[in-house]
Amino acid sequence: MKRTVPLMIVMVGGILMMVQYFIPHQYSQAVFDSYVSWAPIIAAFALILGVGSLTRVHAHKIRRKAENWQYSWAVLIPLYAMPVLAHIWPVSLSGGMDEPSIFHFLFMHIQVPIQATMFSMLAFYIASAAFRAFRAKSALATVLLLAAVIVMLGQVPIGDLIAKWFPQIGLWILRYPNLAAKRAIMLGVGFGILATNLKIIFGVERNWLGGAGK
């Protein structure tokens, strides 16, 4: 029963949504509208489950004083503080409602700089990796290296100044060889997704059930 019911729900739901997509009829539209209303509600329960699970794991670490347990506070405090500040205490630092709230302040002055810093550090690591690992060890590696240099120079104004053909060749690489390779990969991935979905809908692939019903 634990396996049959979920499998039936997935099969009926999957086939229904697949067929619905190709039928431009009001009944079909009603099914679709109903699904669109249901899905966020189900997702909201998943959110509760996720937050609950995260809290349990980190609370357990803090109680047991496990390795690096202090960082668990860094997870739990913002996890609960931000929603509280957003919904229960939506006032500014000076106490007024017209100015940006504390939530907004924390978002703009902590969240944004932290994420921007993490991403901008990539430039430093790319430079280091370029120096240490980008070698013309073989013919194919040399082609890759030359393409990278041309595209990099073609993407910036200095490339225009060095030679007018840098941007043109760079764009040609992006528009033709790159496009052909990407399309091949995307088609492969697309067919893979289709096959996997059909296997899930028809119950051939059952790993998503976990150990239920065993």
């Binding site: 509208d33 899905a39 978002f107 991403f119 370029a130 070698r135 290296l145 399309r183």
Partner: protein
């Protein structure tokens, strides 16, 4: 250890320092290297330029703060273009953090300290005019100014909340929200991010669903942009344009060739191109942050290419290509 081996084992902190220095100097000197435009960006510009007050576009801030340096100028440039042509704009976000990004972009474009800003009129402020039945864009502006409101000298124009723009922000499971908006925008967003009811907004009365919208521009730092193609373009034929980070720009060229998107702004370069087009067409007096950032990117790319060349010279001159393994550097 010979000179080549010493070179290859250089402390990586020197590399980090050089990148840091090379990134900072162009910000201080402001070289202003010219940026040429590409067909991919020109197509978006031309398309938006052909729209007017009877049309509407979505600008979706589908990125997190990590990629805001690249994505934010794209959203800002398109928003400025739309405001200039009085094209109504819906602002949405794929992620909770994108919600803040959309608000930040709107705030930047309407902030008096920003050169070439637009003066925003809150939804409540023009309630009397709305209640008097005036909702046409030109009539609304005339009535607003007749009521004694004066446009500041340095402002580019008025933008009325609920008429020229609506800040919808984030809604959970955004791909389903796109699907839902193909039937009705209001069912997905009963109120906007400022708690104004959408049912009272003229922009919503004229554009009830995505079928009555002329373009969705998604500025994205991930594959979130493809949701607009899958659920908007393929289901109802909604025209879509991408503004994506440089690292992911290569992924989306197939969408341009297949005609599924009308164009693409790739990375900071794409945003800078759009800023140049705005300036060349007299929509803004100056370029903005993306254009300034291109000098930094030029310097960084040159330095990285220099590192690649030096790394290869040391590798081959030192004869390491004949050896199996190099000693690891710090």
């Amino acid at each position: 250890m010979n000179i080549w081996e010493r070179m290859l084992n250089i402390d990586r902190r020197w590399i980090f320092l050089s990148i840091g220095v090379v990134s900072i100097i162009p910000f201080l000197t402001k070289i202003g290297l010219p940026v040429s435009t590409t067909e991919e960006v020109e197509d978006i510009f031309t398309y938006i330029d052909s729209l007017g007050k009877e049309n509407a576009i979505f600008i979706s801030f589908d990125f997190d703060p990590g990629t805001q340096a690249e994505n934010m100028p794209m959203g800002v440039a398109v928003m400025r273009h739309a405001f200039h042509n009085h094209v109504p704009v819906f602002l949405t976000a794929y992620t909770p953090l994108g919600h803040g990004m959309a608000g930040g972009a709107l705030d930047y474009v309407t902030r008096p300290s920003t050169p070439g800003y637009y003066t925003s009129v809150d939804f409540d402020e023009w309630a009397d005019i709305r209640n008097a039945g005036i909702t046409d864009r030109d009539e609304l502006e005339a009535a607003w100014e007749e009521a004694g409101n004066v446009l500041p000298d340095d402002s580019h124009g008025w933008v009325f909340e609920g008429r020229d723009f609506v800040y919808l922000g984030y809604a959970p499971l955004f791909h389903l929200v796109i699907l839902g908006m193909t039937s009705s925008i209001e069912t997905q967003y009963p109120s906007d991010a400022h708690d104004n009811p959408l049912s009272e907004m003229p922009i919503l009365r004229e554009h009830k669903s995505l079928r009555e919208v002329d373009l969705a521009v998604t500025t994205s730092g991930s594959s979130a942009c493809t949701a607009w193609v899958i659920y908007g373009r393929e289901k109802i034929g909604l025209p879509v344009a991408f503004g994506v980070t440089a690292v992911s720009a290569t992924d989306y060229y197939p969408y341009i060739q297949s005609g599924q998107i009308i164009g693409q702004m790739g990375g900071l370069r794409g945003a800078a191109e759009y800023e140049v087009l705005l300036q060349q067409n007299g929509i803004t007096e100056t370029t903005d942050k993306a254009f300034t950032g291109m000098d930094v990117q030029s310097a960084d790319h040159l330095l990285i290419i220099f590192f690649i060349i030096m790394g290869n010279i040391a590798y081959f001159m030192g004869g390491f290509h004949r050896k199996k393994q190099l000693k690891g550097g710090r």
